[in-house]
C-alpha cells in the first residue's frame, strides 16, 4: 500500500552513476542516494522520520510545509550564488602591445616580433580612453590586467595606464588592482622598482622543469626561455612581497603525463599554487597536431597530479590546485565565485572585457584571438575611441551572446546534474562547432568540465576526514592545521 503523500519535491537535477544517484538542487546542495532511496524519493515513499528524509529536507530537496518561507530562503541562496551578476565587469584586460620577444608554440596572442614597428603598440590616448571606459563599470572592484604580446615591451603605456587609473580613481574611490601578465624574460630592476611601488601583481608562465618548459616556450631563435625566466622569477620574488609573483602553466602533450614534476618545479621555485590549464584551441594552438592530446590523457594526468597534491597537503605542505579549489567552492559553499571562463551567462563582457591596441573592445581574449587569426570580428562590440559605454554595452550583438550562453536553456546543459556549478563558452563554441550554443555530445569544453566534476565528486562520495579538511583548507585559504584544529574544537564542543 502506498503511504499518503507527506512531502513534495523541490527543484533538483540528477544523474545515475554506477552505484548510486547524484542529486544537485537549484542552489548547489548535493546528495548521493542509493538506487532504492531515489526510487522511494520520487514515488513519495520515504518515511518522514528516516535519516535520508531528514537529510533531503535539510538540504532543500523536499519540503513538507511552509513553501513561501522555503522559497524565500532558496531565493536568497540563488541570489548569493549569482552575485557575480551584480558585480558586473570588474576584469579589464589591456593589450598594450602585440610585440613579443618569444614565439611560443601554442601562443594564443598571435604575437609579432619585438622589432616590429609601433603600430603594434597601444598609444596613450587609447590607454587613457580605455581606463575611463573601465571606470564606468558599476563594479566597485576594478582589476586592470596588462597583456600582450609582452607588456614589458611597452612599459611606458603600462605606467601611463596605472597613473591615469589612480588619477581617475580619486573621484570613483573603487578598489583597484593591477596585474602584469609577462613572460619575465625582459624584466629589469627598473621595472621591478615601479612594479613594487604600484603593488602590481606579476603573473608569468612556467610549464615545468627546463626540458618541459622549453618545448613550447621559446625565443624567436628557437632557444628555450627557462633559464632566463627562472633567474628573473627569483629576482622578482626576492624583491616583491609574498603573493605578488604568481605563475600559470599550460598542459601540453609534453607535460600531461609529467604533471607531478611540474608540481615539484613549482614548489622548488617557491610558488604558492598551481592551476592545471588545459590547452585551448586558439591562436597557434588551433588545429595544431603537434599540440594534440586526448581528453582522457588530460583527466588521467590531472587525477594523478591532484592525488599527489593532496598527499603533499596531507604531509603539511599547503599547495592548492586552483581549478579544483574553485569548483569545490561552488560545490561546498553557497557563495559566488568569479571565474569568467566558466559562468552562466558567460562572463564575457559582463564580468571581463578586453581592450585591443587600437581601442577595439572584445568580449574576451579568445574573441580577440579569433579576430587575429581569422579576421572574424563577430565578438568586437565597439571601440573606446569611437563608442560610448552605453553604446558598447547595449550592443544587440552582446545581448545575443549573453542569451545564447544561459545554460538553463541549452540542450544538454539544461538537464545536466552539474548545471548549477558550470558555465558556457559561446566564443569557443563558435570557433570549434560553428555557433555560440554549441553541440554538447561532442563539445570538448563540456566533456572536460564533466570529467573534472565526475572526478571531484568521486572524491566527495568517499571523503575521508583528512581529504575533507584539505579541501576546506584550500577553499578557506587556511593551513590544514588551522582547519583541523577548528573541526576538532567543534567536535569537543558538540560532545559537551
Amino acid at each position: 500500500m502506498t503511504p499518503q503523500k507527506q512531502y513534495s519535491l523541490l527543484p533538483f537535477r540528477f544523474d545515475k552513476r554506477q552505484d548510486n544517484y547524484l542529486l544537485v538542487n537549484e542552489t548547489g546542495d548535493h546528495i548521493f542516494l542509493e538506487f532504492s532511496e531515489f526510487q522511494q524519493l520520487i514515488n513519495k515513499q520515504l518515511k518522514s522520520d528516516s535519516e535520508i528524509f531528514l537529510n533531503l529536507k535539510s538540504k532543500f530537496f523536499l519540503y513538507e510545509k511552509s513553501l513561501p518561507k522555503i522559497i524565500e530562503v532558496l531565493a536568497t541562496k540563488y541570489r548569493t550564488k549569482h552575485k557575480f551578476l551584480y558585480d558586473y565587469t570588474s576584469l579589464h584586460m589591456f593589450v598594450v602591445t602585440y610585440k613579443c620577444n618569444q614565439k611560443c608554440t601554442y601562443c594564443h596572442a598571435s604575437s609579432v616580433s619585438d622589432v616590429s614597428d609601433d603600430k603594434f603598440d597601444m598609444d596613450i590616448k587609447t590607454a587613457q580612453k580605455s581606463v575611463e571606459f573601465a571606470f564606468k563599470s558599476p563594479s566597485h572592484n576594478i582589476k586592470i590586467e596588462f597583456q600582450g604580446g609582452e607588456p614589458l615591451l611597452n612599459f611606458d603605456i603600462v605606467k601611463a595606464t596605472v597613473e591615469h587609473a589612480e588619477k581617475i580613481n580619486e573621484e570613483y574611490q573603487k578598489n583597484i588592482e593591477f596585474v602584469l601578465c609577462t613572460n619575465l624574460t625582459k624584466l629589469t630592476t627598473e621595472h621591478l622598482k615601479y612594479i613594487k611601488e604600484k603593488k602590481i601583481v606579476i603573473s608569468t608562465s612556467l610549464d615545468g622543469p627546463a626540458d618541459i618548459h622549453n618545448q613550447c616556450r621559446k625565443y624567436f631563435n628557437g632557444k628555450g626561455t627557462y633559464e632566463d625566466v627562472i633567474n628573473n622569477l627569483k629576482m622578482a620574488k626576492s624583491d616583491l612581497d609574498d603573493g605578488m609573483v604568481t605563475a600559470l602553466m599550460t598542459v601540453t602533450p609534453f607535460n600531461v603525463h609529467r604533471l607531478k614534476e611540474v608540481v615539484d618545479e613549482y614548489l622548488n621555485q617557491g610558488l604558492e599554487y598551481i592551476f592545471f590549464r588545459k590547452l585551448n584551441p586558439f591562436g597557434y594552438a588551433y588545429k595544431n597536431e603537434i599540440l594534440d592530446y586526448t581528453l582522457n590523457d588530460f583527466i588521467i594526468g590531472y587525477k594523478e597530479a591532484l592525488d599527489y597534491i593532496i598527499q603533499l597537503n596531507s604531509s603539511g605542505v599547503f599547495f592548492p590546485e586552483v581549478f579544483s579549489t574553485l569548483l569545490l567552492s561552488r560545490i561546498l559553499t553557497p557563495f559566488s565565485t568569479g571565474f569568467v571562463d566558466l559562468q552562466s551567462p558567460t562572463g564575457a563582457a559582463i564580468s571581463g572585457i578586453i581592450y585591443d591596441v587600437n581601442g577595439d573592445v572584445f568580449i574576451s581574449d579568445e574573441a580577440r584571438m579569433i579576430y587575429r587569426t581569422t579576421g572574424d570580428k563577430k565578438f568586437c562590440i565597439g571601440n573606446v575611441n569611437v563608442n560610448s559605454w552605453k553604446e558598447i554595452y547595449s550592443n544587440p550583438q552582446l545581448r545575443e551572446i549573453i542569451e545564447d550562453s544561459c545554460i538553463d536553456a541549452l540542450p544538454g546543459c539544461a538537464w545536466c546534474v552539474y548545471k548549477t556549478y558550470c558555465g558556457s563558452d559561446p566564443v569557443r563554441n563558435y570557433l570549434t562547432q560553428g555557433d555560440m550554443i554549441g553541440y554538447r555530445p561532442t563539445n570538448d569544453f563540456c566533456q572536460k568540465h564533466k570529467a573534472i566534476f565526475n572526478l571531484l565528486f568521486s572524491y566527495l562520495e568517499k571523503l575521508d576526514d583528512k581529504t575533507d579538511n584539505i579541501f576546506w583548507s584550500w577553499i578557506t585559504n587556511r593551513s590544514l592545521d588551522q582547519v583541523e584544529n577548528f573541526t576538532s574544537n567543534m567536535t569537543i564542543n558538540e560532545s559537551i
Binding site: L9, R13, E26, T27
Partner: protein, 110 residues
C-alpha cells in the same frame, strides 16, 4: 543503412523525453525519429563501431527512463523553480499570496 531500430511506446514515454535522449546519443550515432501508428521508432546508425547493439539499446532505454523521470518530476517543481528565480531577482512582498495562487494552478507561469 540503418543498424538498430528501437520501438518506443508513446503512452509511457513523452516525445520530449525521447528527443532529449536522442540528443544525448547523437554524438556517437546518426539518429532518426519516426512516428508510426502505435509506436515511435528510433533508427540508429553508429558512427563508430565501439558498442554493440544490445548495449546501445540498454543504455538508450535507461537514459530514456531517466529523462522521463526528469520530465515527470519537473511538472511538480517547475513552478517552484520559477518562483525561486523570480524572488531572487525581483522579490515581491506578497509571496504567500503568490505561492498560493501559483501552486493551486500549476498551469500559470511567471
Amino acid at each position: 543503412m540503418k543498424e538498430l531500430i528501437i520501438e518506443i511506446n508513446p503512452l509511457i514515454y513523452t516525445l520530449q523525453a525521447i528527443k532529449n535522449t536522442c540528443y544525448d546519443f547523437s554524438g556517437d550515432s546518426w539518429v532518426d525519429i519516426q512516428s508510426e501508428e502505435t509506436c515511435i521508432k528510433i533508427f540508429f546508425q553508429k558512427k563508430e563501431n565501439s558498442i554493440n547493439n544490445i548495449e546501445l539499446k540498454q543504455q538508450f532505454m535507461n537514459r530514456l527512463l531517466d529523462h522521463q523521470i526528469r520530465i515527470d518530476t519537473a511538472k511538480e517543481f517547475k513552478t517552484i523553480r520559477e518562483m525561486i528565480v523570480a524572488q531572487a531577482f525581483e522579490p515581491c512582498d506578497n509571496l504567500n499570496e503568490v505561492v498560493g495562487y501559483m501552486i493551486n494552478d500549476p498551469s500559470k507561469t511567471i
